[in-house]
Amino acid sequence: MADLTLTGVCKSFGALEVIRNVDLQVRDGEFVVFVGPSGCGKSTLLRCISGLEDITGGTLEIGGTRMNDVPAAKRGVAMVFQSYALYPHLRVRENMGFGLKVRKVARPEIARRVDEAARTLKLESLLDRFPRELSGGQRQRVAIGRAIVGHPQVFLFDEPLSNLDAELRVHMRAEISGLHKRLGTTMVYVTHDQIEAMTLADKIVVLRDGRVEQVGSPRDLYDRPANVFVAQFIGSPKMNLFDAAGLAASLPGHLRPASGAVRAGLRPEDMQVLPEGEGLVSGRVESNEYTGAGSLLHLHLDGLGRCLALYNGGDAPGEGAGISVGFDATRLYWFDGQERRIATRESAAGIST
């Protein structure tokens, strides 16, 4: 187990700068998740930590030791790949013990560690099978087992669940979370699935264009996003954005937008869809997507434009229905001209329905 420290880390492929000056501190035993849109550099950053890619600037330390020029196998990290990367010509037992064999660990010790990992991951009955004889979930568990047997200081996961079906993904997510609790090892996990990020992470790192946009706990990122990008990336469906002046006109007199605010954000789950005349802003329903537990309403609000609202319950207004929208003003987010969130004293605001 070890701390992981990135200081000014950069990575370029020729003239193309993929990772730009990333600073990050991961404490021993922490579960950190990198999220961001495709091409944001999250997998590249993980590969830089693993040693599969060299960094072109900055410093990378694991357990206080500078690792910039240390080969991948000697960094004390283990990686679980998206495609599992199990050796097809080796049985599960040999796959799991392969790294130890390369490192010339004694055979009895290899057998002991493989058996131990197999017990942890419930793989005992599969040890003599080939990867082609396993299901997707079993392969994923073998890939994790292969990482465990080396007793690494840091586990790296590169979108490990993206090849599994939805049900298995939920199951494996719980298994990985349980594994982290049992082992207590530092884990760095890459995903584009924000549900995975929110449920697994102690700390989420949001990346965009190779830069860190914000680092924080899932609740921090949801409640206090640093900017419009994070606000819209965290949360599903994504946050609605309105023109601040337009929205201000709908607010009661004692509630004014934060100073310097250009845009206002409101999450779909914070919007209350009410009968006409009962809310702050009137509008109509453009379409209604029934989701079982409720509906996702596509609204057009007068003077504010299109937005989304979550409606809980089965009696959601239908297409074309006139509605009005209310909201708790403490749930409003204000952003300045540079798209940064303006910190406000939320407690001062009142309920505005």
């Binding site: 599969l52 196998a73 790949f81 998206q82 990367a85 050796y87 010509h89 392969f98 790294g99 390369v102």
Partner: protein, 280 residues
């Protein structure tokens, strides 16, 4: 297979295939039949696959007429060496071209592939002078070296390269994380996974070397050093006319190893060619 569910349709289909197979199978049967006929019966107007009298002694005569056992052994050991050497070189070179980034690798591949376009007849004279200068005339060395480093070697390298290119890079990255060197990755991961390609390249190379005719004709003069294709053309009478019954008997002996190897591994040959075409 739903198309052939009806027995009548299936019967028609098999009958058509059987008719189409005749031009391919008949010469082979004719060879086996002629191998046990007399020279006169081969040319008798009554065409028959079954001989009137079975001349099994033709096979013994093959070995008396010239040192056929020695020539058979020559072909076997040369083809074996060429196959082993080609597999070694082409797998290493193919892996390097597929996986190692180095300046000019694309250009090198282009040059190699363009070498495939050049007929061997064009290079035989320069090769003759080269081998003569190296003092390798009337030895087996040209028959071993030229296929390994010539167009057959290039073909093998290209096939191996295509196969290695199709291997998932994550496997090699996992091997790197496990602590293997570049050669270790090649030896312990890439090579074991390329067994179908190795089998196909091995068979194709063996066939190539086994059937080589022009090079032995140019480089060998001692009958003891002859390989089978050259030996087969040597079953002639005093006037230089072919002794067909002996030629056919010798040829039917010559095809045995090829048939055995080909039947055993034909599926892997097809797989390898399909892979190099689709995934390359």
């Amino acid at each position: 297979m739903t198309r052939f569910r009806s027995p009548a349709v299936r019967a028609c289909w098999y009958l058509s295939l059987a008719i189409l197979a005749v031009p391919f199978v008949f010469p082979f049967l004719w060879m086996l039949s002629s191998a046990v006929k007399s020279q006169a019966e081969i040319f008798s107007p009554a065409l028959s696959l079954l001989p009137e009298t079975w001349h099994w002694e033709n096979y013994a005569e093959v070995f008396r007429y010239q040192p056929f056992a020695r020539q058979y052994a020559n072909s076997l050991y040369i083809a074996g060496l060429v196959t082993a050497g080609t597999l070694f070189i082409s797998s290493l070179a193919g892996y390097a071209l597929a996986r190692i980034r180095f300046a000019g690798s694309g250009l090198l591949l282009l040059v190699l592939i363009s070498a495939l376009m050049m007929p061997e007849e064009v290079t035989i004279i320069p090769n003759f002078f080269l081998m003569k200068q190296l003092g390798l005339m009337n030895t087996h060395m040209p028959l071993i070296l030229l296929p390994m480093f010539g167009s057959q070697g290039v073909m093998a390298t290209f096939l191996m390269r295509q196969y290695f290119t199709a291997l998932p890079p994550e496997l090699e990255e996992a091997a790197r994380m496990d602590g293997l060197s570049r050669f270790g990755i090649f030896w312990k991961v890439a090579l074991p996974l390329s067994r179908p390609a190795l089998a196909a390249v091995g068979i194709i190379t063996f066939l190539y070397s086994w059937n080589l005719f022009l090079e032995p004709l140019v480089f060998l003069s001692d009958i003891e050093l002859f390989t089978l294709p050259l030996a087969l053309s040597n079953f002639t009478d005093a006037y230089g006319l072919p002794l067909w019954h002996l030629q056919m008997a010798a040829t039917s002996l010559a095809v045995v190893p090829i048939l055995v190897v080909y039947i055993a591994a034909q599926r892997q040959i097809v797989e390898s060619f399909a892979l190099s075409g689709v995934k390359g």
